[in-house]
Structure formats: C-alpha cells, structure tokens
Symmetry: none
Subunit: 202 residues, 4 copies
DNA sequence: TATGAATGAGTTTTCATTCAT
DNA sequence: AATGAATGAAAACTCATTCAT
C-alpha cells in the first residue's frame, strides 16, 4: 500500500513536470526557457526534472509523442468508419480543433516547437509526423478510387494542403491573427472542409 | 572614385555575409549555428559580421525582410491586375513556388526560422507576416463581393487556408516528405489553386 | 537468533557492496563512476550504500585500509622472521604479486586510485602508505648494519626504489604494458629482487 | 609589425594559461580544480581558456605532451651516444631529476595526474608513455647482448623497475616522504643507478 | 534494514558581443 | 574596413547526499 501510494505519487510528479513544461514552453518557447523555469513552474527541485527525463529535449519529445499518438489513433479510427471521405476529414479537423480547445497551450507547443520547428525536433519526429500525412493521403486516395474526390490532385499533395490549412488556422489563433472564440472554433471545422473539399469557387 | 569603389566593395562584403548566412541557417538552423560559422562560410573575419550587422538576429531579420517585402510587392502588384481572383491566387502561388525554385535555402530559412518559429522571430515580424495574410484576405473579400467566390467562408479564414496549404507544400519539399522535382513544382502551382478554389470534391 | 542472523545478513550486504565497488572502481575509475553504479553492480538500492558508508570516499577508504593493513601485517611478520634481508624482500614482493594474482581488480584500485592518486586519497592515507615504506627501509637499514647490504645507498631511498619497482610492474600488468601470465608473475618475484639486490650489472 | 606583435602576444597568453594551469593542477589536483581557477591564476577571462584549448583535458594533454616529448628526445639522444649502458641510465635519471629540480610543479602534475593516474589520462597517453619504457628496454637489451648487463632479467622488466624506481623517488619528494634537498637530488641520480645496476647486495 | 524519489549546489562548456590593433 | 583575441554571462547537466516511507 505504501509502495503503491509512493509509486502513484512518483507518477504524479512526472505528470506535474510535464504539465508545467507545457505552460513554460507555450509562454517562453522551448529555446528561450531554462530547465529551472520548468522546475519552478512545477514547484519541484531542479534535479527532479533530470530524474524523470534525460534532457530538456526529452521533455518536449514526451509531450509531442503523447499527443501525436493520440491523434494518429483518432485518424486511424476515423478512417475505419464507413463514412464518406468528406466526413472523415471533418472528423479529423474536429479532433484537431477540439484538441486546441481543450489544451491550447499544448497544441501551441506541438505546432510551434515541433511540427513547424522542423529543423531540430521536426527532424527527430519526421517519421511520426509523416505518418499523419500518409493516413490522410490514404483517405484521399480511397476517396478518389471511389469517385468521391476528383482524381487529378495527387493524394499526397491534397493531404499536405488539408493539414497545412488546419495548422495555419491554429497558428492564426495562437498568434491572434485569427479570432479564436468558441464560435470561430466551431466554424473552422466546417470552413476547412468546405474550403478543401468544396472549394472557394462559387 | 576610390571611395565609390570601396563603398561598392563594402556592399559586396555585406552581401557575401548575407548569402553565407542563408546557407548556414539552412544547413544548421539559426539557433544551432554560431556567428563564426557564418563568418567562416563567408570567408571573412569573425568581427566583420558585427561591422555590418548589429547582432546575429539582425542578419536573419535582414534576410527575412528583404525577401518578404519582395513578396508583399508581388502580391500587391498581382492584386492590382484586372484578372479573376483565381488567377491572382495562381500568380501568388507561382511566385512563392518560383521563389523556392530560385533559392530553396532562403525559403527554408524564412519558413522554418521565421514564419513558423513564431515564438522568437515570428513575434518580431508578426505584423509583417500578417500583412501578407491580409492582402490575400482582401483578394478573397473582393472576389466574394464580385460573386466569384462563395460568400460563406470568411476571407481571413480562406487566406489562412490558402497560405497554410502552400507553406505546408514547401515544407514538404524542404524535408523530403513530398517529391520536389521540376514537374512537381509546376504541378503544385495548379494543384494548390485547384484544391483551394475548385475543391477536392468530384 | 533472529538478530544474529540479520546482523550476519547485514554484514554480508556490506561485503557485497564493497566487492561491487572494487569491480566498478577498477572498471570505471573512482572519479568517473557514480554511487548508483556501485549500487547497481551490487544489486542493491541506491540509498543502501549510504546506510553502510558515510560517503563514496568512505567506500574507497575502507577498501584501501582493509588491504593495506593486511600488507603491513605481512611485512611486519616477514621482518620478524630470522631470514636474510634478500629473502625478506622476496617475501614482500611475493606477497604483493600474490595479492595481485588473487584480486587484480582490488590491486588496480589501490594502486591507481589511492597509492598513485596522491593528491586526493593519497594525501588522506599518506601516513598509512608511508608506514610500508618505513618498514621496508627498516629491513634495509638492519641489513646494512649486518653487512648484508652495501651501506652507501640510504635505506629510505632503497625502500622507495624497491617499492617503486614492484608497483610499476603491477601497473605494467594492469595496463597491459607488461605480459602478466602465470609464469610472468612467478618470474617477477625473482626479477625484482634480483634487480634491486643483485643489480643488473654482469 | 602590429600583426607580428599581436601574434606574439597571443602566443604569450597561451603560455600564461599553460603555466598557470601547472600551478593550479599541482596545488589542487586536476579533478579538484575548476577551469575558473586556471583563468584566475592566469589573470585572464574565463572564456580565453576555451579560446586556446578545447577543454580542461586538452590543457593537461598539452602540458604532458610538451614535456614528455622533450624527455623522449633526451632518451633517444642519450642512447645514440657511444657510452656504457650504465652511463646511459645515469643520464636518463639525471634528466628526470633535473626536470624535477627545474619545475617540480610540472613534474608533479605529469606524474600524479597523468603517468600514475593511469585510468583517465594514462589510458589516453599510454602509447606515448610506453615509448619511454621501450626506449629504456632497448638500452637494456643492447647492454645484455654486449655483455654489459646480466642476461636473465628481461629488458622489459628491467625497464619498468628502473623507471618505477625513479618515479617513486620523485613521488617521495613530491609528497615529502623523502628529503628533497639539493644534495638529495644529486645523490638520487647516483643511487638509482647504483641500486638498479650495482644492486643492493654487498 | 531497505528503497529510490527528491534536493540543489557545483562545473563545464558555449557563444554572442566587444574592442584593441 | 578588417581582424580575431578577449570577455563573461548564461544554461544544461551531473551526482553526492538526504529523507520520507
């Protein structure tokens, strides 16, 4: 019992550090913050960060992989559904927007510090990031074969356009370039699919 | 005469440093490279970088502003043309793709180190970056008023989707996630407009 | 009974830690290894090392003193024997060589980390180390008085030469500079005495 | 001229740092001292140490190699002389003793921190250290062939005994275990050769 | 006795920037 | 304009030691 309690307490501290890191990374940026900022924010001793993580990098890696894997699962699950491709893309867009609504700081960190900071961390996680593109491309490919989508735009390209559009919208919210109220978030789910699938043309 | 010559020589040295910085930033990333790397790549002495630029940041600032202003001018010029919105967007996409073809390293630097590194440099240049979004949004807005584009997707949103799609495609080329051969570049110009304007739907 | 048993168990654990420390110090060096390396090697928890020893230093201290005292006793015992000085020196050389044969890792630790690391641990144990030199010097002194050894080389000097020669040979074995097979060990016992007592001259 | 002067000044600063390092290493030991101690002792800024040396290790490496190479040259030169082996060994012993007389701190550093700290630095410089042993062994080998030395003690072993004896004597001086006055130094040159060549036997 | 989480001081190294020449 | 030596603040990371359980 004592062991169970302390094991749980240990796991909690790890979580506390990860959550603090999200806030610090979001506020100051990964490169700009110090490990001591994370420890301070978490209310733990400096060295404890290194007890649970090999390096500052590993903290970000952990944060990214945790969330990205959830998203990959969500995409796979969506794709398994017997629904039109348009609805699949809508579900994916919804998932991403909801992720942002639920924890905008975490999404800011993942997008700004990993996905788009393609040099350092992007390179490390390129394979993982690419998985998402490929899953989306696969949805497009099947939709083209089924006659749902036009066949001339390559699936890879379409996937990048779709994902890029959403990510840019999140970036817009993150940096206050785009209004990010509750309604805007809802609207965005529709808009991105309308734009990519329906097109802007009248 | 001597003064004119040395002034020209000075300007050239400044250029040499900037061009070297592009290669170094593209190869190693802004945060990872040292000022001495730039000096070495340019074949000049360490301190000379500080003769022409106040700081390492200013080198990147200069690089970004030089190119971004050219793009803003190109967008404005395009918008001034009496052509359909679809063609305007095609011209913008073309300009960006051509910029990449002409100097992929510079575009990599601008996208990866500035546009997408929104925490550090993005913040500094947010206003400048936003200008581009607004010019594009304006094109969409006028097209909606003219009945060329559907009125339900907000112009701001559409601009972000359009720009995000292109930037993601460039990122795909930069990190070899998308094939970036000559034909692919040409195709991309059409695809992005087809996708955003025509939509993926059959 | 239970107390006796656990006291014995405790003593065993202490021994397990000491033996593990020998292997770790020999492999990685005292400065380079961490306390956790010792605990891991011993298969005990981190904190247990601190239950039995006040500090990392104390572990090495213990190891050194254990062995060094055995050697001092052996030298004293040898000196008490009614045998020629030459045989006494042979007995001492034998003892040291046998110590190496029996536990080369322990001897490596004592020589490399204590005896020769005179700045850090050597200083602490200098008095203890000096005892050995003095015992040997005493043997030489008496041999000179008895007419066994030439009187012109001072005993202190001779003791250092003798001890230095042996230690250097062990060092040679430890670092594979000298062949350290079974026969080489036997030979060394004779050679060192032949060299120091008989001299290299024909 | 200005360039020549500053180049000379630069070289001097490097020397100033090396000399300061000798004093600091001798006083506090390599592991115990901080790089800032070296900088302070040299009266230069912290970073300048890293301007001239890649790491703290490299400072010690430089110090060792500088001196060790001088000694190797001295041994080679001695060996080239047409003199008896006994005189060659005397010359080598003299050289080492004189090195100590001239700069005892440097010799302390080389012996205590490199030659005898065989784990870290010794390993690195083992090949270089071994060269000395081999040169001495070669002298012995030739003396045996010429009938100067008895043939039964292997040259490798004799070299180790000879070198070990000298080094132990220096160690004795360094740690005040052996009297190290001017006369003692002179005496030592003879004693070590008398002991190793003539033997202690009456 | 045994565990291993928690602490935080200490040190190396990096590198942007300055400045004397 | 050009050089590169000199400066020193800043930060990551290590690890011996403590302590609650």
């Amino acid at each position: 019992m004592a062991t169970a309690r302390s094991a749980a307490a240990a796991a909690e501290k790890r979580r506390v550090i990860l959550d603090a890191a999200v806030r610090v990374f979001a506020r100051q940026g990964f490169h700009t913050c110090r490990v001591s900022d994370i420890a301070d924010e978490a209310g733990v001793a400096y060295g404890l960060v290194y007890h649970y993580f090999r390096s500052k990098d590993e903290v970000l890696d952990t944060l990214f992989l945790e969330r990205w894997n959830v998203m990959l699962d969500a995409i796979r699950e969506t794709d398994a559904q017997p629904i039109p491709a348009r609805e699949k893309l809508h579900a994916i867009a919804s998932f991403i927007v909801e992720s942002y609504r639920h924890d905008p700081e975490l999404m800011k960190v993942i997008i700004v510090e990993v996905t788009r900071a393609a040099n350092s961390f992007g390179q490390t996680h390129l394979a993982k990031i690419r998985e998402a593109y490929e899953l989306i491309a696969e949805i497009v490919r099947k939709a083209q074969q089924a006659g749902e989508f036009r066949p001339d735009v390559t699936p890879d390209f379409a996937a990048m356009a779709f994902y890029g559009a959403i990510e840019q919208v999140l970036t817009g919210w993150i940096f206050d370039v785009l209004p990010g109220g509750e309604e805007d978030l809802e609207q965005a789910k529709r808009f991105v699919v309308e734009t990519i699938c329906g097109g802007l043309d009248q």
